[in-house]
């Protein structure tokens, strides 16, 4: 049971790294990678709790599979949007997307 702590710490570190990437990065693709890190940290949490929590069901595993599928869908849509933006303004720098302000 003591093994649960390193996994939760790993998840927390991944979460903080993802948060850091989303806040500091200017490149839209890098922000997307940060978001993926956040999703994966939640996945590690689910698996860890399911494995070490002595729960009878496999809810955590199932949840993780759904999250992986959704992350793929989200990444597909986000990349399509970023490619479209690149076609129109020639960059994926989010600071350059500043048509609208106020």
């Amino acid at each position: 049971m003591n093994y649960i702590q390193p996994f939760l710490m790993l998840a927390s570190i991944l979460f903080c790294l993802g948060l850091y990437a989303v806040i500091t990065r200017k490149n839209a693709v890098a922000i997307l990678m940060g978001i993926e890190l956040i999703l994966n940290s939640a996945n590690i949490n689910f698996i860890t709790f399911n494995r070490f929590g002595a729960y009878r069901t496999l809810d955590g595993h199932v949840f993780t599979i759904f999250v992986i599928v959704l992350a793929a869908a989200e990444a597909a849509v986000a990349l399509a949007i970023i490619i479209n933006l690149f076609k129109n303004i020639g960059t994926v720098d989010v600071d350059q997307a500043k048509e609208m302000k106020g």
């Binding site: 949840f63 849509v77 500043k98």
Partner: protein, 483 residues
Amino acid sequence: MNNIQSLQYFLPELLITITALFVIVFDLISQKKSNNLLVSVALFCIAWLLYQLPSNGGEIFNGMLINDKFSLYFKWIIFISTGAVILVSKYSNELDKEYKAEFDALLLFVLLGMFLMTNSIDLLMIYLSIELVSIPSYVLAGMLKNDKKSNEASLKYVIFGSFASGLMLFGLSWLYGISGSTNIYEIYKTIQLIDNPYMIYMSLMLILIGFGYKISMAPLHYWTPDVYEGSPTIVTAFFSAAPKAAGFAILIRTFFILFTSTNSLTVDALPLEGIDWFLIVAVLSAATMTIGNLLALKQDNVKRMLAYSTISHVGFMLMAFSTASIDAIVGITFYLTLYMFMNLSAFFMVIHVENNFKVKEVNQWGGIGYKTPILAAFMVLSLVSLAGLPPTSGFVGKVYLFRTLFATEKFYWLGIVGILNSVISLYYYFKIVKSMYFDESVIEKEENKPMLLYFFILLFSAQNIIFYFYWQPLYNYITKLFS
């Protein structure tokens, strides 16, 4: 209830899925023909199935969803507003006719997601339904592929949305960890026994971020003005109404069942021991309405101004939510119903003006009051209602929101902030009215008169007057949902 038995409570959702898939296939087979008839018939059938739907199913699909009066009512208002948007969308000049089928299909998928949002009682379904609403919404915001503003809107939406739902997912994972279950009724039983409030606080805040982004609550409102301005106007009209209702439905259900010690939607909620989220919501609601109203003052773009007005209305509803009494959620449901329709009528008028007169700024609306006198009069009615003045239903709704706040005697300061904000909001709504009637006319004559758009503008505006005089039946009906 097992899966096969549950299907009888799931018929509208099934028909929506089938229609959405069929619309795409139909577009592939017959490339020229319009699918208006198909979609109209499907919408009629969905309405009929909703009418037939019983509301006493309880937990269905092995505790994944719940079928009750609360969700059925929210499904109705979501369905009416989304159906109106789908029907009106053929008059939108902005959308490429080639992508009309995709547009309809995406809207139907969002409708399915919103239906699921109203009756999710499982963490997995909460996350899935929010994503099912979000992902097609990102695409809808970017429907104008060659328009820079639309690209930017969808980029900001996708980054902000997936970030917020990622944070929410992390909160859900902790909730699962401390309780060992994903059903919110099961989780509720466990978290009563936990004496460390910080873990629950953390997951509560992260979940509030996820829901708050959906309803554009204060620190998470940044996407709203940009997405509303950049998206095609028909999509903006949709975003401002139905997803807000779905967001409030899931917020009310999750918070009232999970994070209160009363665990029910039918009694006044009491906080869990050591966790006072009411104060957090009160502070956030004050911030939401103040930011919404103050920033709306300096906007020139009509859509952007209405986006900030949406934020301020969300603030008013959160104000009532912070008292967590049963009157408050009745008041929110009542106000949400009225707000959706007055806001849709205002947005449909914006669509009509953009189609005919090609203007986007408030000060270009000069002379519209004389060019289309009937529609302009109804627009004034909707704006008065949004501002919350008598004789309109917006006034009645706002009175109920303030009444619940003062009746619980908790946050008097919040009531004062709310009243000040109501006064501020008069200025920017009447800026549009002033422009329509008193500014110099620069626009051409009205070219085409789409009957269906007229019909919906008149219908949704007429409710402003009707529910000012006969609000009691609707209010009583909503009260019965929570008993």
